[in-house]
Symmetry: C2
């Protein structure tokens, strides 16, 4: 869908324009106040001849020529007729403020369906309904319904939100400058994903910030994320729906159905999408990426503090948030030592003392020296900026940063305050001009810094995403034998196996497989084989095999009388190793998700699993394994075996390829356990669930 007529219109009509408070009046007032060019604006109101001294048209049809965008400030009932009238003016975009749609139960949902149908039929991209509109600061178009105070807001952040209130929060943030701001509301025929795609493409947008309640176009979302990753354009997303309570609220708020949260998080991770935990993070991360002139080349930071106490606080926080402290060279330290008073010492965090804090030129020298150190990637000045600047140190330090940053080879600088006092706008403006993000306080600041550093250093491996093409309702399970055969025929290494319908056949197959082996009932109707006496292990010879065959068949006939028994499944006993589990769950939006974890309570109690979308590269598979808290258990823990991690990596990659290829066939796979030994990885049991169609 081309959004240019909606978001970059040449001619605009406000329908329901007015001088009174309310959507019509506020939108008109905002438009006239904040928009750059009023030549191509038409105000439409059947009851008025002029509005704020401008000609008012009585209807859209009265306008001469085409109208790219209509901003509909009128009630729900009027919307479809107005869209039809607008279509006669070759209109390609509409903003619909009216509520009473998907957010208000079955009748509303039906009205929204009708609206989408009309919009699609007429070829009009609709923003809303139940939205607050948009502002395009690049072209100077302010089609936004909530009043805001007068301020320059232009910049390079493209922001989308399903909640108008949250857009307002962004607009009210004095440190955010925008290319586009979009309140998408119920996102009826233009979805959050479409706007996201627009902003990722948009050259005036340096960073995309999105508040999302749900996903409706997963393929488009993934494609936009991939495009952003390839450009290394930061996309910061706050997604609600982590709690069941907020899922419930999103449904009643904009009619969104929230996707499975863990899956979305794994998708974010794959594409380097920066996830924000709340609004403060969303705004501050967007502002930080917006201000930064260049990303750090690595993640090693030097903190500069003015007191030992604050340096100590920063040391604790940097460890807590996994921020890597740079190890400066002896030469750098020796030089810094000449700058600090006798009682100072050169550590990282570097307590430069008030001596340097009060001395602009010396602080510039210190920053230059730290920046030149090859072991340093970024400098973080940590000091509270008070509202009413009495403390001289702040102005000295802000000035020092500003001077030091004139050297464009200086490594990136960040500023973290300790207490929420960072509203001294003049200091903020100087830092912004110096490309130095003023992060929020303490923990927020460290969270933001860590996410920015992670984004800066990550490499992206483009992969063809495996989003399913169809929606599949019905499915059926395969037997263990069939499951393993399917895996094997799709390139996944599985141990040898055979089925036998009679004891004689079993003996013959056992001759080929070799003893000792396991005997399990072969029946697609029995999933919990042990529960019905359908498993015998460690069968050492023919006599034991015949006895086991008889016992397994008898037990199952007795304990599962309705099951079709097709004989037994024979497998050589595997070498026991570390037990892992591997799973595939085919998400209806994002396709097969690969899960790996240590078997047993590690998965269940400590939730120690890694999740990633299929397919996986070897590096991605390795990263998943190494991200497990229980990973040391695979790696020679306490003198134990060093397991064959590469065999597990290979298994994960092959399974992920099978799952990606089978994105419209394989619903679930449960491998539990797979034994990882010093020289391999062997699947001991597997259950595949396939779609019927």
């Amino acid at each position: 869908m081309n959004l240019n007529q909606l978001l970059k219109p040449r001619t605009i009509a406000i329908v329901g324009a007015s001088e009174k408070a309310g959507f019509g009046g506020d939108t008109t007032r905002n438009y006239l106040k904040f928009s750059k060019n009023l030549d191509q604006l038409y105000l439409v109101n059947p009851g008025r001849d002029t509005i704020f001294g401008r000609r008012a048209y009585h209807s859209l049809s009265e306008i001469e020529g085409d109208v790219d965008l209509v901003i509909l400030c009128t009630p729900q009932k009027t919307i479809i007729p107005l869209l039809e009238e607008a279509a006669g003016k070759n209109c390609g975009g509409a903003v619909v403020f009216a509520s009473g749609y998907g957010e208000v139960g079955p009748e509303g949902r039906e009205r929204q369906r009708e609206l989408v149908e009309a919009a699609d039929r007429l070829g009009i991209a609709v923003m809303g309904p139940n939205c607050a509109g948009f502002a395009n600061f690049v072209d100077g178009i302010f089609a936004f319904a909530f009043l805001v105070e007068e301020r320059e807001r232009g910049g390079n952040i493209g922001m989308i939100s399903q909640s108008g209130q949250i857009v307002l929060g962004g607009l009210d943030s004095p440190n955010m400058g925008f290319s586009h701001v979009i309140s998408s509301g119920n996102s009826c025929n233009v979805k959050v994903e479409d706007y996201l795609d627009f902003l990722v493409d948009d050259e005036d947008t340096k960073v995309v910030a999105a508040y999302m309640e749900g996903v409706t176009k997963p393929e488009k979302l993934v494609a936009a994320f991939q495009k952003a990753a390839l450009k290394k354009k930061p996309v910061v997303v706050l997604k609600t729906g982590r709690s069941s309570k907020s899922q419930e609220l999103a449904k009643s708020h904009t009619g969104s159905l929230s996707g499975a949260d863990k899956v979305l998080r794994a998708v974010f991770k794959r594409y380097g999408v920066v996830e924000a935990g709340d609004l403060e993070e969303l705004m501050s991360l967007a502002a930080a990426f917006s201000w930064l002139e260049e990303l750090p080349k690595g993640e090693r930071c030097v903190f500069m503090n003015v007191s030992g106490g604050e340096a100590g606080v920063m040391a604790d926080l940097s460890e807590e948030y996994g921020i890597r402290l740079a190890e400066m060279q002896q030469e750098t330290k020796a030089y810094l030592k000449t700058l600090v008073p006798d009682y100072g010492s050169v550590n990282n965090p570097f307590d430069m003392t008030a001596g340097i804090g009060y001395n602009t030129p010396v602080m510039v020298q210190a920053m230059e020296a730290i920046s030149k150190d090859p072991g340093v990637d970024a400098i973080v000045v940590a000091y509270t900026i008070t509202l009413e600047i009495w403390d001289d140190t702040i102005s000295h330090m802000v000035e020092a940063v500003s001077i030091a940053r004139r050297d464009k080879t200086l490594k990136p600088v960040f500023w973290i305050p300790f207490i929420e006092h960072t509203r001294h706008q003049e200091s903020a403006d100087i830092l912004k001009a110096a490309g130095t993000p003023l992060l929020p306080t303490g923990r927020y600041g460290c969270t933001a810094l860590k996410k920015i550093l992670d984004f800066a250093v990550r490499t992206f491996e483009p992969m063809e995403p495996a989003v399913p093409e169809g929606k599949h309702e019905c499915s059926h399970s395969l037997s263990e034998f069939e499951s393993l055969n399917y895996l094997s025929s799709h390139g996944v290494p599985v141990p040898p196996q055979a089925v036998a319908a009679t004891a004689d056949a079993a003996v013959e197959e056992a001759g080929k497989l070799g003893y000792p082996l396991s005997v399990k009932i072969h029946s697609r109707d029995i999933q919990h084989k042990s529960d019905v006496g359908g498993v015998k292990l460690n069968i050492r010879d023919e006599a034991e095999l015949r006895a086991a065959f008889a016992a397994v068949m008898d037990n199952c006939a007795k304990n599962a009388p309705d099951a079709r028994l097709e004989g037994v499944l024979l497998k050589p006993m595997l070498k026991y190793g570390t037990e892992m589990i591997i799973g595939v769950n085919n998400d209806r939006d994002f396709g097969p998700m690969i899960m790996v974890g240590m078997g047993g309570v590690f998965v269940e109690l400590f939730k120690d699993v890694a999740l990633a979308p299929a397919p996986l590269t070897e590096k991605q598979a390795r990263d998943m394994i190494e991200s497990l808290a229980s990973y040391p258990l695979l790696n020679g823990y306490r003198g134990g075996a060093v397991c064959d991690k590469e065999a597990l990596v290979n298994l994960l990659v092959k399974i992920s390829e099978m799952a990606a290829e089978g994105k419209d066939k394989v619903k679930e796979l449960d491998i539990n356990p797979v034994f990882i030994t010093e020289d391999g990885a062997a699947i001991a049991d597997a259950l595949l669930v396939m779609y019927d169609d």
Copy 2:
């Protein structure tokens, strides 16, 4: 130590008073500007006759009458002679700004030792050295060396910090009002613990906020904490030294040695000390406790939001931070439903919509209704307060809170903004007057709210703390037999056991104990018995016992030739159960700490342990066990056994009593494992380490 002459002096002399910038000048200027009563102030400077138009004394001796407090703005070398001179004026307190002491290596530490010696000898309580002084807002005494802007700062927060910069941060916080502010610096003869004790006692102080780098008077600290807990006076502490880096910094900063961090955290928990993770938390928690007129009676909150998007964000955050959402009664919900527009719905978080947000009287009605609901303990209004109030909603909502809070039976109200905009001081002032804490944004706000609710609902069980009386250097291990006997003779239940020096004696003892049993080498020189072949399990009869005796003795003679072998230890085989470990570590400051965790990798990899100071009540022991992530494994996990938790509770209590009683005897105890079964808890192995003296 009585701190009244130091902190509440009647007569004060500033030595080194001056008109010039620097400690002397800034302190003088501050004192003259901010202190209430200048009658009893003497300015001392040998080279001046007047300072700022006031008479200057050439020496302390020149002053007629006594001087309670001297503020020494002079260099390090002059300090001891001045203290001696001051003692002649019956001086009982001194503030020493000078640096060059414990923070600057061995010579400095020696100078500090001399200073302490002089102060103790002269009976003078010294604040500092290397400090920034104090301000007593109750009596109007401003003995502080850093300049701050003019503002009313009186209030009920008592703040102590080893870092002057951090005190300055507090003083600069517009929402903090203080009774006392103390920059203790190197805390030479008056320690942080002494100030803490003073503020816990002080009736003008409602909440104590402390920044600490180390502990030097553990007994005093614990006593002050216990006193505060009994009064339910909140004590908020930021302790650095969580990371090794910050421990290193603290040492170079104020010469503090940071105590074992986990131990201190367990002590905080015992006494309900509210721990702050950084400065933002320290300040905002202090301010919140200061503003609150009454603590909530329970922890069930209702959130009031103005948009569905923000309600969703709040729902996610409240779940993440464990804030309990109140379930309102149907009656309350039905009433609220009449207040919201048609499209609104009544959930918690309650999206009251802009309809109520803009309507002060209706919001007051909503708050009253929510407050009257017996299922609600507190109300949290969540809305961003912008700097330049354009958005009418804010003033309407702030006004509504203010009106609703006039009813003193209204349950406590908190305010959490979403984005760091909370510097609209007029709104903050109205909320403060209404006893409604304005918390920081999102995550910080939720952290603070959770900590306040936890503090509000916790009950304190006073216990005699077991702080060791002596310092013990040398220690020795007991054998397993001796360890278990010691435990047994100190009230800890242990399974039967016997030692035998010969095979015949072993057979005789086995007859009393019963088979099957375990045979282990009995030697205090061998700690890892299995490693030297010193263990045989599951011995079923006399023949096996004799063989085992011979094998164990032979193996150890061969593999541990230097060990004194005293025979074997016999114990009936225990019923296998869930393996737990219990440990005691006698902290030199805070005494025996009891540790419990699930055995094996749970402790080692997931650090899933609970720690608490001895002794323990049954409730405390139970809380420890239930706090383990692996606790479900004890409690019928996946159809497993429901272990005898009460037996484990009893064991912990008995061990803690043994450890508390042995606070100057027992250094360490390592019980690994103890088997917890459906009907008991049995210690399988124990190692005690005892102090020599």
